[in-house]
Subunit: 277 residues, 2 copies
DNA sequence: TTGACAAATGACCCAATAGTCATTATTATA
DNA sequence: TATAATAATGACTATTGGGTCATTTGTCAA
């Protein structure tokens, strides 16, 4: 399990520099100081490695955004915190950000594309719910456009510090984008992206996580963490998934119990979506 | 010369579907109905092909934008025409747009990256001069931010019809983006991208076209086009490059002569930059 | 110390692919 | 028609890189 982490870290460095396709397994193993065979003990294939990397980091970013949106009671601060967290994440994990930008929508692997689409939609949903909370009725017609603009800001500005090693003032950046977002939200009158368009675009996105997959992850977590309230809650949630008997209030409570455990952030996010909380 | 075009067209189709790296020369030649050897009669390598493709289309798009910015006297229309032209181009050449997005900043070839940076900067300059003309003093502090936002709009919205085959209302799209751009230009007060930051980012961009390269292209064009005012003008401009004797007014006039000839758009654009017109 | 089990190795296999070149087909010229 | 020049072919080479597996090394309980 430690070997796996070593490989992921070292491979990420190479991928960021050279790209995924141009990095051979040979190079990775040399960079790790292990043999080629050892690589295949940890990962079934080179593809499995990149998927593991993307999963790892995207989970982190997605949950981070989700937590901010849910745990910031003050509307005034929300947008600022959102932008700050995004760029802070990208900055901290700039190697990963590089890989993400370089490899974005590369065709070489169907699974990977679906995966990326999946995370993309998750982030879109988070942005949308933030928009709705902040501006409500005011942006009913223009919310999808606003969401696209926010995504545009995220992408365009992140290239600045991903490709040039410039020392950036994240606070100023966030502040600047908050102003722009507010401007667009409050004064836009000509929407382009309609509900209907969004529906069309949504189509090919059917890789929703299934109950079975959730159960699998729950099982893993139960094994991983030591006896505690969190573990007990997980076991109860596992039972609930297999045979629903508990009322929603209790389920929600159990979810609350685990949502701050460092190893349970992702699973609690998935469960919250599953139960529509 | 015809074979070259055939290869470029057919290869583009494959690149758009599968990406550059994942398309073999074999596949390209099969798709063209020619032999592998024939491919290497037209292009020295596979890399030369992708570079030719990118040159071809980026020249087209860059000159198109440049022409619009220079030939639209009415400020009211300018932004609209700009967005419309961009998306019209992307739509018409959607295969190329796909390749561009997929391959953007892929590391496999240094030349290519420099090339892309070069065109990127050209487009940035065009956007900047458009902004300055439209908003002048008003955006002195925020023009670079505005430029980045416009680029963000371009990228983000273009993904919509590059990756989903959605029938799009380009007029509405342009109108919508015009409104957003105006909003940001007129009301933004917190700039993030300073002059200084732009300077830093500019650094690695030293692949400016040299006089020798310009001369080479002029030579090619002179060979290509039949005797006419345009050809004569080109020959005079060639002389001027080798030994400057004519006053600026005449040079500018000569440039005007060729700037509408379908084969001279790119060279006239380069010359205009060279002489700072 | 021994033997059994797990972890790690790297030579090897195979498929794919960029690029070459001797040969053949086609066209232009005299 | 004969000859020269040009265009086109595709078998072949050299190399790379993902993945396998027989063998070696390390570990630990008896």
């Amino acid at each position: 399990m430690l070997k796996k982490q070593l490989i992921m870290e070292r491979a990420l460095e190479l991928f960021a520099k050279q790209g995924f396709e141009s990095t051979s397994v040979q190079q990775i193993t040399e960079h790790c100081g292990i043999s080629k065979g050892a690589f295949y003990l940890s990962f079934k294939s080179k593809d499995e490695l990149i998927i593991a990397l993307i999963d790892h980091f995207m989970m982190q970013i997605t949950t981070e955004i989700d937590q901010i949106v849910r745990n910031t009671p003050n509307d005034e601060e929300l947008l600022y915190k959102f932008y700050y967290a995004i760029y802070h994440s990208f900055h901290k994990q700039s190697d990963f950000a590089k890989v993400l930008i370089k490899e974005q929508s590369q065709t070489f692997n169907k699974d990977l594309i679906l995966k990326m689409r999946y995370y993309d939609k998750l982030i879109e949903n988070n942005i949308l719910s933030m928009i709705e909370r902040l501006y409500g009725e005011e942006v009913r017609q223009t919310k999808y456009d606003l969401m696209y603009c926010i995504k545009g800001f995220m992408n365009t500005y992140s290239q600045l510090f991903v490709f040039y090693n410039v020392p950036l003032d994240l606070k100023l950046l966030s502040e600047s984008l908050v102003e722009k977002t507010n401007l667009l939200a409050r004064h836009t009158t000509v929407p382009f992206i309609s509900q209907e368009l969004i529906e069309i675009v949504k189509q090919p996105m059917n890789a929703e996580v299934t109950k079975e997959q959730i159960l699998e992850i729950v099982g893993q977590r139960i094994e991983e963490i030591e006896t505690s309230i969190e573990k007990e809650s997980l076991i109860l949630l596992q039972g609930q998934l297999l045979e629903p008997t508990l009322p929603p209030a209790i389920v929600k409570g159990l979810l609350g119990n685990i949502s701050n455990h460092p190893h349970c952030k992702w699973i609690s996010y998935l469960l919250r979506r599953y139960y529509n909380f």
